[in-house]
Amino acid sequence: MSKVRVLAGTRKGAFVLASDGKRDRWDVSGPHFAGWEIYHVKGSPAEPNRLYASQSSSWFGQQIQRSDDGGKTWEPVGNQFTYAGATGTHQWYDGTQHPWEFKRVWHLEPSLTDPETVYAGVEDAALFRSADGGKTWEELPGLRGHGSGPDWMPGAGGMCLHTILLDPSDAKRMYIAISAAGVFRSDDGAKTWRPANRGLRSEQMPNPTGEVGHCVHRIAMHPSKPRTLFMQKHWDVMRSDDGADSWHEVSGNLPTDFGFVVDVHAHEPQTIYVIPIKSDSEHYPPDGKLRVYRSRTGGNEWEALTKGLPQRDCYVNVLRDAMAVDSLDACGLYFGTTGGQVYASADAGDTWAPIVRDLPAVLSVEVQTLG
Protein backbone atom coordinates (compact mmCIF):
# COMPACT_ATOMS: atom_id res chain seq x y z
CA MET A 1 0.00 0.00 0.00
CA SER A 2 1.20 3.50 -0.72
CA LYS A 3 2.54 5.68 2.04
CA VAL A 4 3.11 9.36 2.47
CA ARG A 5 5.83 11.14 4.37
CA VAL A 6 5.37 14.79 5.28
CA LEU A 7 8.55 16.75 6.01
CA ALA A 8 7.96 19.79 8.19
CA GLY A 9 10.61 22.40 8.88
CA THR A 10 9.97 24.62 11.90
CA ARG A 11 11.57 27.39 13.90
CA LYS A 12 12.88 24.84 16.39
CA GLY A 13 13.55 21.65 14.49
CA ALA A 14 12.33 19.27 11.80
CA PHE A 15 9.51 16.75 12.05
CA VAL A 16 8.70 13.72 9.90
CA LEU A 17 5.02 12.77 9.76
CA ALA A 18 4.21 9.39 8.20
CA SER A 19 0.99 7.68 7.26
CA ASP A 20 -0.37 5.02 4.98
CA GLY A 21 -2.40 5.92 1.93
CA LYS A 22 -5.55 6.50 3.94
CA ARG A 23 -3.85 9.46 5.56
CA ASP A 24 -5.97 9.34 8.68
CA ARG A 25 -3.42 8.11 11.27
CA TRP A 26 0.02 9.59 11.58
CA ASP A 27 3.29 8.73 13.23
CA VAL A 28 5.28 11.79 14.25
CA SER A 29 9.05 11.75 14.69
CA GLY A 30 11.11 14.68 15.84
CA PRO A 31 12.22 17.19 16.65
CA HIS A 32 15.29 16.52 14.58
CA PHE A 33 17.99 19.20 15.07
CA ALA A 34 16.10 20.45 18.10
CA GLY A 35 16.31 24.16 18.67
CA TRP A 36 17.66 24.98 15.19
CA GLU A 37 15.68 26.73 12.50
CA ILE A 38 14.85 24.31 9.71
CA TYR A 39 13.92 26.35 6.68
CA HIS A 40 13.35 23.40 4.37
CA VAL A 41 13.49 19.61 4.12
CA LYS A 42 13.03 17.87 0.81
CA GLY A 43 13.48 14.35 -0.57
CA SER A 44 15.11 13.29 -3.81
CA PRO A 45 12.58 12.23 -6.45
CA ALA A 46 15.23 9.82 -7.75
CA GLU A 47 15.91 8.19 -4.35
CA PRO A 48 13.12 8.98 -1.89
CA ASN A 49 15.06 7.93 1.20
CA ARG A 50 17.65 10.59 0.41
CA LEU A 51 16.54 13.73 2.22
CA TYR A 52 18.24 17.10 2.47
CA ALA A 53 17.58 19.60 5.25
CA SER A 54 18.60 23.22 5.67
CA GLN A 55 19.48 23.84 9.32
CA SER A 56 20.42 27.34 10.40
CA SER A 57 20.95 29.59 13.35
CA SER A 58 21.61 33.29 13.68
CA TRP A 59 24.30 32.34 16.18
CA PHE A 60 26.02 29.42 14.51
CA GLY A 61 25.28 29.79 10.83
CA GLN A 62 24.26 27.30 8.18
CA GLN A 63 24.32 23.53 8.16
CA ILE A 64 23.09 21.09 5.54
CA GLN A 65 21.96 17.72 6.87
CA ARG A 66 21.47 14.62 4.77
CA SER A 67 19.58 11.43 5.48
CA ASP A 68 19.79 8.20 3.50
CA ASP A 69 17.10 6.35 5.42
CA GLY A 70 14.09 8.56 5.05
CA GLY A 71 14.84 10.78 8.01
CA LYS A 72 15.64 8.22 10.70
CA THR A 73 19.30 9.26 10.88
CA TRP A 74 21.11 12.31 9.60
CA GLU A 75 24.64 13.48 8.98
CA PRO A 76 25.91 17.02 8.48
CA VAL A 77 27.45 17.55 5.07
CA GLY A 78 28.95 20.67 3.53
CA ASN A 79 28.07 24.09 4.88
CA GLN A 80 30.39 26.38 2.96
CA PHE A 81 28.50 28.69 0.63
CA THR A 82 30.92 31.11 -0.96
CA TYR A 83 29.75 33.49 -3.64
CA ALA A 84 31.64 33.19 -6.89
CA GLY A 85 33.74 36.19 -7.82
CA ALA A 86 32.98 39.72 -6.72
CA THR A 87 30.02 39.77 -4.38
CA GLY A 88 28.62 43.07 -5.62
CA THR A 89 25.75 45.03 -4.10
CA HIS A 90 21.97 45.03 -4.10
CA GLN A 91 19.43 47.57 -2.96
CA TRP A 92 18.87 47.90 0.76
CA TYR A 93 15.45 48.70 2.21
CA ASP A 94 16.10 52.42 1.91
CA GLY A 95 17.26 52.23 -1.69
CA THR A 96 20.96 52.52 -0.95
CA GLN A 97 23.38 49.85 -2.13
CA HIS A 98 24.33 47.07 0.29
CA PRO A 99 26.92 44.31 -0.10
CA TRP A 100 25.80 40.75 -0.75
CA GLU A 101 26.12 38.64 2.44
CA PHE A 102 25.31 34.97 2.83
CA LYS A 103 22.77 34.37 5.60
CA ARG A 104 21.03 31.02 5.11
CA VAL A 105 19.63 28.44 2.72
CA TRP A 106 15.90 28.90 2.21
CA HIS A 107 15.13 26.14 -0.23
CA LEU A 108 16.70 22.86 -1.36
CA GLU A 109 15.62 21.36 -4.67
CA PRO A 110 17.00 17.89 -5.41
CA SER A 111 17.53 16.94 -9.03
CA LEU A 112 14.69 15.01 -10.66
CA THR A 113 17.09 12.29 -11.79
CA ASP A 114 20.29 12.28 -9.70
CA PRO A 115 20.14 11.95 -5.90
CA GLU A 116 23.64 13.42 -5.57
CA THR A 117 22.67 16.67 -7.26
CA VAL A 118 20.75 19.28 -5.33
CA TYR A 119 20.18 23.01 -5.82
CA ALA A 120 20.07 25.52 -2.98
CA GLY A 121 18.35 28.89 -3.01
CA VAL A 122 19.99 31.19 -0.50
CA GLU A 123 19.73 34.58 1.19
CA ASP A 124 21.22 36.96 0.04
CA ALA A 125 19.77 35.70 -3.20
CA ALA A 126 21.87 33.31 -5.23
CA LEU A 127 21.64 29.81 -6.62
CA PHE A 128 24.08 27.10 -5.55
CA ARG A 129 24.45 23.50 -6.65
CA SER A 130 26.04 20.43 -5.13
CA ALA A 131 26.86 17.43 -7.30
CA ASP A 132 28.23 15.28 -4.47
CA GLY A 133 25.30 14.85 -2.15
CA GLY A 134 25.70 18.16 -0.38
CA LYS A 135 29.37 17.84 0.56
CA THR A 136 30.51 20.78 -1.54
CA TRP A 137 28.60 23.69 -3.02
CA GLU A 138 29.31 26.02 -5.89
CA GLU A 139 27.42 29.09 -6.91
CA LEU A 140 25.89 29.08 -10.36
CA PRO A 141 27.06 32.61 -11.10
CA GLY A 142 25.00 33.31 -14.20
CA LEU A 143 22.00 34.34 -12.14
CA ARG A 144 23.69 37.13 -10.21
CA GLY A 145 25.76 37.74 -13.31
CA HIS A 146 22.63 38.82 -15.10
CA GLY A 147 23.55 42.32 -14.05
CA SER A 148 20.29 43.47 -12.52
CA GLY A 149 21.44 42.71 -8.96
CA PRO A 150 21.74 46.39 -7.95
CA ASP A 151 17.96 46.60 -8.46
CA TRP A 152 17.12 43.55 -6.35
CA MET A 153 15.97 44.30 -2.80
CA PRO A 154 15.06 42.36 0.33
CA GLY A 155 11.48 41.70 1.33
CA ALA A 156 10.50 41.62 4.99
CA GLY A 157 12.00 38.13 5.34
CA GLY A 158 15.27 39.03 3.67
CA MET A 159 16.47 38.87 0.08
CA CYS A 160 15.86 35.21 -0.48
CA LEU A 161 15.85 32.86 -3.43
CA HIS A 162 12.94 30.74 -2.24
CA THR A 163 11.58 28.81 -5.22
CA ILE A 164 13.35 26.52 -7.69
CA LEU A 165 11.28 24.77 -10.36
CA LEU A 166 12.87 22.14 -12.59
CA ASP A 167 11.08 21.53 -15.88
CA PRO A 168 10.53 17.75 -16.16
CA SER A 169 10.21 17.99 -19.94
CA ASP A 170 13.46 19.86 -20.52
CA ALA A 171 16.48 19.18 -18.32
CA LYS A 172 18.01 22.52 -19.24
CA ARG A 173 15.05 24.68 -18.25
CA MET A 174 14.66 26.05 -14.72
CA TYR A 175 12.73 28.80 -13.06
CA ILE A 176 13.66 30.52 -9.81
CA ALA A 177 11.97 33.23 -7.79
CA ILE A 178 13.45 35.85 -5.50
CA SER A 179 11.87 38.23 -3.00
CA ALA A 180 12.13 40.93 -4.11
CA ALA A 181 13.54 40.59 -7.59
CA GLY A 182 11.01 38.34 -9.31
CA VAL A 183 11.10 35.30 -11.56
CA PHE A 184 14.11 34.32 -13.64
CA ARG A 185 14.26 31.59 -16.26
CA SER A 186 17.18 29.63 -17.67
CA ASP A 187 17.03 27.54 -20.84
CA ASP A 188 20.64 26.37 -20.76
CA GLY A 189 21.05 24.45 -17.53
CA ALA A 190 21.43 27.49 -15.25
CA LYS A 191 24.30 29.05 -17.19
CA THR A 192 22.42 32.17 -18.20
CA TRP A 193 19.21 33.69 -16.94
CA ARG A 194 16.71 36.31 -17.94
CA PRO A 195 14.02 38.04 -15.90
CA ALA A 196 10.53 36.70 -16.57
CA ASN A 197 8.25 39.28 -15.00
CA ARG A 198 6.33 40.84 -17.88
CA GLY A 199 2.78 41.49 -16.79
CA LEU A 200 3.57 41.90 -13.10
CA ARG A 201 2.67 45.16 -11.43
CA SER A 202 4.04 46.10 -7.98
CA GLU A 203 3.26 49.43 -6.40
CA GLN A 204 6.24 49.08 -4.03
CA MET A 205 8.54 49.84 -6.97
CA PRO A 206 9.25 53.28 -8.43
CA ASN A 207 8.39 51.78 -11.81
CA PRO A 208 5.57 49.32 -10.98
CA THR A 209 6.13 47.33 -14.16
CA GLY A 210 9.93 47.23 -13.99
CA GLU A 211 11.90 44.29 -15.30
CA VAL A 212 13.00 43.27 -11.78
CA GLY A 213 12.18 44.17 -8.18
CA HIS A 214 8.86 42.32 -7.81
CA CYS A 215 8.16 40.55 -4.53
CA VAL A 216 7.17 37.16 -5.89
CA HIS A 217 6.23 34.91 -2.98
CA ARG A 218 5.89 31.58 -4.73
CA ILE A 219 5.52 29.97 -8.14
CA ALA A 220 4.20 26.49 -8.96
CA MET A 221 3.77 24.27 -12.00
CA HIS A 222 2.13 20.97 -12.84
CA PRO A 223 4.67 18.51 -14.27
CA SER A 224 2.42 17.65 -17.22
CA LYS A 225 2.02 21.33 -18.18
CA PRO A 226 5.42 22.85 -17.50
CA ARG A 227 4.76 25.95 -19.61
CA THR A 228 1.84 26.90 -17.36
CA LEU A 229 2.95 28.58 -14.15
CA PHE A 230 1.02 30.00 -11.24
CA MET A 231 2.28 32.71 -8.93
CA GLN A 232 1.35 34.14 -5.56
CA LYS A 233 2.89 37.57 -5.63
CA HIS A 234 3.06 39.88 -2.61
CA TRP A 235 -0.29 41.10 -3.90
CA ASP A 236 -1.95 39.37 -6.90
CA VAL A 237 -2.32 35.77 -7.97
CA MET A 238 -0.89 35.44 -11.47
CA ARG A 239 -0.73 32.89 -14.27
CA SER A 240 1.53 32.34 -17.25
CA ASP A 241 0.81 30.04 -20.18
CA ASP A 242 4.03 30.67 -22.05
CA GLY A 243 6.77 29.58 -19.69
CA ALA A 244 6.84 32.91 -17.81
CA ASP A 245 7.29 35.01 -20.94
CA SER A 246 4.19 36.88 -19.77
CA TRP A 247 1.83 36.83 -16.81
CA HIS A 248 -1.80 37.79 -16.30
CA GLU A 249 -3.78 38.19 -13.12
CA VAL A 250 -6.21 35.45 -12.00
CA SER A 251 -7.08 36.72 -8.52
CA GLY A 252 -10.76 36.81 -9.51
CA ASN A 253 -13.12 36.58 -6.55
CA LEU A 254 -10.53 35.92 -3.83
CA PRO A 255 -11.29 37.84 -0.60
CA THR A 256 -7.74 39.22 -0.75
CA ASP A 257 -5.02 38.47 -3.26
CA PHE A 258 -2.19 38.79 -0.74
CA GLY A 259 -0.68 35.51 0.42
CA PHE A 260 2.35 33.30 0.27
CA VAL A 261 1.56 29.80 -1.00
CA VAL A 262 0.26 28.51 -4.32
CA ASP A 263 0.16 24.90 -5.43
CA VAL A 264 -1.32 22.67 -8.14
CA HIS A 265 -3.44 19.52 -7.79
CA ALA A 266 -1.38 16.42 -8.61
CA HIS A 267 -3.78 15.11 -11.27
CA GLU A 268 -5.68 18.18 -12.44
CA PRO A 269 -3.33 20.81 -13.93
CA GLN A 270 -6.05 23.46 -13.87
CA THR A 271 -6.92 22.95 -10.19
CA ILE A 272 -4.90 25.28 -8.01
CA TYR A 273 -4.85 26.33 -4.37
CA VAL A 274 -3.96 29.48 -2.45
CA ILE A 275 -4.44 30.60 1.14
CA PRO A 276 -5.42 34.28 1.20
CA ILE A 277 -3.81 36.37 3.92
CA LYS A 278 -5.35 39.70 4.84
CA SER A 279 -2.54 42.05 3.89
CA ASP A 280 1.17 42.73 4.05
CA SER A 281 0.65 44.59 7.30
CA GLU A 282 -1.68 41.98 8.82
CA HIS A 283 -0.20 38.55 8.23
CA TYR A 284 -3.24 36.47 9.16
CA PRO A 285 -6.37 35.21 7.42
CA PRO A 286 -9.23 37.62 6.77
CA ASP A 287 -11.92 37.67 9.46
CA GLY A 288 -10.04 35.16 11.62
CA LYS A 289 -11.12 32.36 9.27
CA LEU A 290 -8.50 29.98 7.90
CA ARG A 291 -9.66 29.16 4.39
CA VAL A 292 -7.94 27.44 1.50
CA TYR A 293 -9.23 28.66 -1.84
CA ARG A 294 -9.44 26.28 -4.79
CA SER A 295 -9.89 27.14 -8.42
CA ARG A 296 -10.76 24.35 -10.84
CA THR A 297 -10.37 26.72 -13.77
CA GLY A 298 -6.75 27.69 -13.32
CA GLY A 299 -7.71 30.89 -11.56
CA ASN A 300 -10.32 33.67 -11.53
CA GLU A 301 -13.12 31.49 -10.13
CA TRP A 302 -12.37 30.46 -6.57
CA GLU A 303 -14.23 28.50 -3.89
CA ALA A 304 -13.49 28.60 -0.18
CA LEU A 305 -12.58 25.28 1.47
CA THR A 306 -13.38 25.47 5.16
CA LYS A 307 -14.48 22.09 6.46
CA GLY A 308 -12.21 21.12 9.33
CA LEU A 309 -10.35 24.43 9.38
CA PRO A 310 -10.85 26.99 12.15
CA GLN A 311 -13.50 29.51 11.16
CA ARG A 312 -13.15 31.89 14.06
CA ASP A 313 -10.36 33.51 16.05
CA CYS A 314 -7.60 32.19 13.81
CA TYR A 315 -4.67 34.55 13.31
CA VAL A 316 -1.87 32.36 12.01
CA ASN A 317 0.12 32.77 8.81
CA VAL A 318 1.05 30.20 6.19
CA LEU A 319 4.53 30.84 4.84
CA ARG A 320 5.62 30.46 1.23
CA ASP A 321 7.21 27.01 1.39
CA ALA A 322 4.58 25.55 3.71
CA MET A 323 2.15 23.89 1.28
CA ALA A 324 2.53 20.65 -0.66
CA VAL A 325 0.49 18.05 -2.54
CA ASP A 326 0.90 14.29 -2.67
CA SER A 327 0.23 12.23 -5.79
CA LEU A 328 -2.21 9.69 -4.40
CA ASP A 329 -5.70 9.36 -5.76
CA ALA A 330 -7.43 11.38 -4.35
CA CYS A 331 -4.81 14.07 -4.21
CA GLY A 332 -3.70 14.99 -0.69
CA LEU A 333 -2.90 18.54 0.38
CA TYR A 334 -0.86 19.70 3.33
CA PHE A 335 0.00 23.03 4.84
CA GLY A 336 1.67 24.27 7.99
CA THR A 337 1.02 27.42 10.00
CA THR A 338 3.01 29.79 12.13
CA GLY A 339 0.83 28.53 14.98
CA GLY A 340 2.38 25.09 14.70
CA GLN A 341 -0.45 23.18 13.05
CA VAL A 342 0.05 20.95 10.03
CA TYR A 343 -3.28 20.41 8.30
CA ALA A 344 -3.94 17.60 5.84
CA SER A 345 -6.71 16.91 3.37
CA ALA A 346 -7.02 13.45 1.80
CA ASP A 347 -9.75 14.56 -0.61
CA ALA A 348 -8.23 17.39 -2.63
CA GLY A 349 -9.19 20.01 -0.11
CA ASP A 350 -12.83 19.18 0.54
CA THR A 351 -12.18 18.31 4.20
CA TRP A 352 -9.26 18.98 6.51
CA ALA A 353 -7.88 17.74 9.80
CA PRO A 354 -4.73 18.63 11.72
CA ILE A 355 -1.97 16.03 11.76
CA VAL A 356 -0.31 17.92 14.61
CA ARG A 357 -1.48 21.04 16.43
CA ASP A 358 1.37 22.26 18.56
CA LEU A 359 4.65 22.27 16.70
CA PRO A 360 6.90 25.33 16.67
CA ALA A 361 6.05 27.80 13.91
CA VAL A 362 6.09 25.89 10.63
CA LEU A 363 8.43 27.26 7.96
CA SER A 364 8.07 24.59 5.29
CA VAL A 365 6.06 21.53 4.36
CA GLU A 366 6.95 18.95 1.74
CA VAL A 367 5.38 15.57 1.08
CA GLN A 368 6.66 12.38 -0.49
CA THR A 369 4.38 9.74 -1.99
CA LEU A 370 6.07 6.37 -1.44
CA GLY A 371 5.52 2.91 -2.81
Partner: protein, 98 residues
Protein backbone atom coordinates in the same frame (compact mmCIF):
# COMPACT_ATOMS: atom_id res chain seq x y z
CA UNK B 1 44.90 18.89 27.49
CA UNK B 2 42.63 21.83 26.74
CA UNK B 3 39.02 21.79 27.95
CA UNK B 4 36.43 23.50 25.76
CA UNK B 5 32.82 24.04 26.78
CA UNK B 6 30.39 24.15 23.87
CA UNK B 7 26.97 25.83 23.69
CA UNK B 8 23.99 23.50 23.50
CA UNK B 9 23.36 23.80 19.77
CA UNK B 10 26.95 22.89 18.93
CA UNK B 11 26.88 19.91 21.29
CA UNK B 12 23.95 18.44 19.40
CA UNK B 13 25.56 19.22 16.07
CA UNK B 14 28.85 17.59 17.06
CA UNK B 15 27.05 14.79 18.94
CA UNK B 16 29.15 15.38 22.02
CA UNK B 17 28.78 16.43 25.62
CA UNK B 18 29.02 19.82 27.27
CA UNK B 19 32.81 19.74 27.48
CA UNK B 20 35.34 18.36 25.02
CA UNK B 21 39.06 17.92 25.55
CA UNK B 22 41.63 18.69 22.89
CA UNK B 23 45.35 18.26 22.36
CA UNK B 24 46.86 21.51 21.15
CA UNK B 25 50.40 21.55 19.87
CA UNK B 26 52.56 24.63 20.36
CA UNK B 27 51.26 27.88 21.78
CA UNK B 28 47.79 27.73 23.27
CA UNK B 29 45.89 30.58 21.70
CA UNK B 30 42.28 31.06 20.71
CA UNK B 31 43.26 30.34 17.13
CA UNK B 32 45.10 27.11 17.93
CA UNK B 33 42.31 25.89 20.20
CA UNK B 34 39.65 26.60 17.58
CA UNK B 35 41.79 25.02 14.87
CA UNK B 36 42.07 21.88 17.00
CA UNK B 37 38.35 21.93 17.73
CA UNK B 38 37.46 22.16 14.04
CA UNK B 39 39.96 19.43 13.14
CA UNK B 40 38.39 17.08 15.67
CA UNK B 41 34.80 18.07 14.83
CA UNK B 42 34.67 19.14 11.17
CA UNK B 43 30.95 19.82 11.36
CA UNK B 44 31.76 22.80 13.59
CA UNK B 45 33.62 24.58 10.78
CA UNK B 46 31.77 27.76 10.00
CA UNK B 47 29.74 27.72 13.20
CA UNK B 48 32.11 29.58 15.52
CA UNK B 49 34.27 31.37 12.95
CA UNK B 50 33.43 32.47 9.46
CA UNK B 51 34.64 29.99 6.85
CA UNK B 52 36.44 32.57 4.78
CA UNK B 53 37.60 35.29 7.15
CA UNK B 54 38.19 32.97 10.15
CA UNK B 55 36.75 35.75 12.32
CA UNK B 56 34.42 35.10 15.25
CA UNK B 57 30.76 35.00 14.22
CA UNK B 58 28.94 38.08 15.50
CA UNK B 59 26.71 36.30 18.03
CA UNK B 60 29.44 34.11 19.50
CA UNK B 61 31.59 35.04 22.48
CA UNK B 62 34.66 33.50 24.11
CA UNK B 63 35.17 33.44 27.88
CA UNK B 64 37.80 31.95 30.19
CA UNK B 65 38.84 32.51 33.80
CA UNK B 66 35.94 34.95 34.24
CA UNK B 67 37.27 37.14 31.43
CA UNK B 68 35.67 38.04 28.12
CA UNK B 69 38.24 37.13 25.46
CA UNK B 70 35.94 37.79 22.52
CA UNK B 71 37.80 40.87 21.39
CA UNK B 72 41.33 39.71 22.19
CA UNK B 73 43.76 38.85 19.45
CA UNK B 74 43.23 35.25 18.28
CA UNK B 75 46.99 34.81 18.51
CA UNK B 76 47.41 36.05 22.08
CA UNK B 77 48.29 33.29 24.54
CA UNK B 78 45.38 32.01 26.61
CA UNK B 79 45.69 32.11 30.41
CA UNK B 80 47.90 29.43 31.94
CA UNK B 81 44.89 27.96 33.69
CA UNK B 82 43.35 27.20 30.28
CA UNK B 83 46.63 25.93 28.84
CA UNK B 84 47.05 23.51 31.74
CA UNK B 85 43.44 22.35 31.68
CA UNK B 86 42.66 23.75 35.11
CA UNK B 87 40.00 26.03 33.62
CA UNK B 88 37.88 25.54 30.50
CA UNK B 89 37.69 27.77 27.45
CA UNK B 90 34.03 28.66 26.94
CA UNK B 91 32.35 29.18 23.58
CA UNK B 92 29.12 31.00 24.34
CA UNK B 93 26.13 31.98 22.24
CA UNK B 94 25.21 35.60 22.93
CA UNK B 95 22.19 35.95 25.17
CA UNK B 96 19.02 36.60 23.21
CA UNK B 97 15.42 35.59 23.49
CA UNK B 98 13.65 33.04 21.33
Amino acid sequence: MIRVVLPAHLRTLAKTGREVTLEVEGRVTQRSVLDALEARYPMLRGTVRDHATRKRRPLVRFFACEQDLSHESPDAPLPDAVATGAEPYLIVGAIAGG
